[in-house]
Amino acid sequence: MRKAFDVTTLPGFTFIAITAFVLLYAPIVTLVIYSFNGGNSVNLWGGFSLKWYAEAAGNEAVQGAAIRSFIIAISASGIATTVATMAALGTTRRGKFKGQTAIYIMINQPLMVPEIVTAVALLIFFSSIKIATGYSGLGYLIIAHAAFCVPFAYLPIRARLEGMDLTMETAAADLYATPWKTFRYVTLPILMPGVIAGAMLAFVISLDDVIITEFVKSAGQDTLPTYMLGQLRRALTPEVNAISTALLALTVVILTAFFLITRKRD
């Protein structure tokens, strides 16, 4: 009997797989290891120490950037998730309609348009508003981040809605629920894992954005990524490694939490 096609029997499979994993993870492992470096170099080992974590935590510029990053990421992911939920409901909880594909493309536009284009466009757009209104706060960054986070929040929410039987809402209406109560007690709770997934994706994407932030931010509005980019121009110290490792740890915690929450719900 002939064996069915099995990708693991192809020549070089093991070699390619191992190489790919090494290339993906070796730099990250190095980065994490050097964050515990006692010396001043990002590639010369000077003994184990937590001094760069202490340094980063005590650095007012890092504190400010971290607080800014979180304010922006939390607000932007909140706005993006709300908008994405409404968009997903609008595009799935009804029959097919004219222009549906066009709307999908428009919602997912930030995934396809090069980020630098959006960045330049937002820069020009916001600068004219800045001149007109005089406002130069974090609002611009929040709106910009919310805008490009929408598709990341939209995709998991829509996927969840598409797997959800429309009779759920019909049954709720049959059992005396008003349209609002139907949404509150049936649609939203069933949708929740999708919403949480969307919010977390949006949060991580916003936290990590450099290009759009670099273009849109005003003076003194560095976020963690743009602060680290700025550090590159001066002497690079393991402080950057420490901040990166902290961000990495946060991401791992968020993703683990999300995994546990969704697994419990289903």
Binding site: M168, T170, A171, A172, D174, L175, Y176, A177, Y185, I190
Partner: protein, 371 residues
């Protein structure tokens, strides 16, 4: 429940005395000239064409027909999920045609059950009462009572996904019964169950209907299900209501060929009616009163009897199929059509293929169909 049951019984006897006029208060649901057309112009599809029907309070009424006949559309119009293109729906004498589903005292058991996956069995059952704004004590009491009714008390804290198909079915029933609706709509609720469970649920449904006294409107394409459970049946085809009557009437006196064919097995015999009876083959006349001209006779297989050769009509056995309790014989009448006879397997001699036999047909049981 007991009091309610008594009410229903007295109401029923009233109906029997007065007869049920369309506007009578004894009708739970009345459809007046209800039509439903999907789409417009050339793409228009008539799902329901001018349906008028009166369903009495406390009865088990079945809408029976093949898929696509409009029975589910009619049910959805009563529930409020669809708005009729024309006509009116009355509930307890009140016009509810434009009332949204959440304001109709009508509950539905869905084909797919549509249980809320994030809520426990008890929360699912209590959902309707919660939405009506009932107090927690009232909800708890009602949930307990209804779960006892469907024998699911030990499962109150489970999630739907932890239940078997049959148990989910009972939760769906309990959820629809808990708010004590005036009318319970059931949309092919048994079609996803295996045969044995389906039989058990048929008995269960009938029991629940008698115990609660609630009007049941049951939609099915299964004629056997309809015959065993219903007080009355409405047979539908292609958006039209063909016949309404008791299972006995529908089975014994089908109004046309479609109904006769759809309900049980039937022999159709073409013939020429005259004063003497209906001639089904040259010289073979059945003593049945016809209108004159070509007619179709409907004869149930159990009403065709096989006799000794020489008695009744002359026939030859073409085929014998053993079905367990019954044997089905295909008989070719001399010079005429073939008919199927159903004979209880151990009842007397069993003719073999090729045997010449006599055939008698009880003229009383023959239906002359209008076409």
């Amino acid at each position: 429940m007991q009091q309610r049951l008594l009410n229903v019984l007295t109401r029923r006897s009233l109906v029997a005395h007065e007869g049920a006029s369309e506007l009578s208060e004894e009708n739970a649901v009345v459809a007046q000239n209800v039509g439903k057309i999907y789409g417009t112009g050339a793409a228009a599809f008539t799902a329901l064409g001018d349906i008028s029907i009166a369903i009495r309070k406390g009865e088990f009424f079945t809408l029976l027909g093949p898929s696509g006949c409009g029975k589910t559309t009619l049910l959805r119009c009563i529930a409020g999920f669809e708005t009729p293109t024309s006509g009116a729906i009355l509930l307890g004498g009140r016009d509810i045609t434009g009332v949204p589903p959440n304001q109709r005292p009508v509950n539905t058991v869905f084909q797919s059950y549509a249980l809320f996956p994030h809520l426990t069995v008890a929360e699912n059952v209590g959902f309707g009462l919660k939405m009506q704004g009932k107090s927690k004590a009232e909800i708890d009491a009602a949930v307990e009572r209804v779960l006892a009714l469907v024998k699911l008390e030990p499962f109150a804290t489970r999630l739907p996904a932890q239940l078997s198909g049959g148990q989910q079915q009972r939760v769906a029933l309990a959820r629809a019964l808990a708010p004590e609706p005036e009318v319970l709509l059931l949309d092919e609720p048994l079609s996803a169950l295996d045969l044995k469970l389906r039989k058990a649920m048929q008995v269960e449904l009938k029991r629940l209907q008698t115990e609660t006294g609630i009007t049941f409107i049951f939609v099915t394409h299964d004629q056997e299900e309809a015959l065993t459970m219903s007080d009355r049946i409405g047979v539908m085809s292609a958006g039209a209501l063909l016949q309404v009557g008791s299972p006995h009437e529908i089975y014994e006196k089908p109004v046309n060929r479609f109904v006769a064919d759809f309900i049980g097995e039937t022999n159709f015999i073409e013939g020429e009616a005259s004063a003497a009876g209906v001639e089904i083959a040259p010289g073979v006349v059945l003593p049945v009163t016809g209108h004159g001209g070509p007619v179709t006779l409907a004869v149930r297989p159990e009403q065709v009897r096989i006799e000794e050769p020489g008695a009744g009509l002359e026939a030859e056995v073409k085929e014998a199929v053993y079905m367990g309790t019954d044997t089905h014989y295909t008989l070719a009448l001399a010079g005429g059509p073939q008919v199927v006879a159903r004979v209880q397997s151990s009842a007397g001699p069993e003719p073999r293929v090729g045997d010449k036999v006599g055939v008698t047909i009880d003229a009383q049981s023959v239906q002359v169909l209008s076409e």
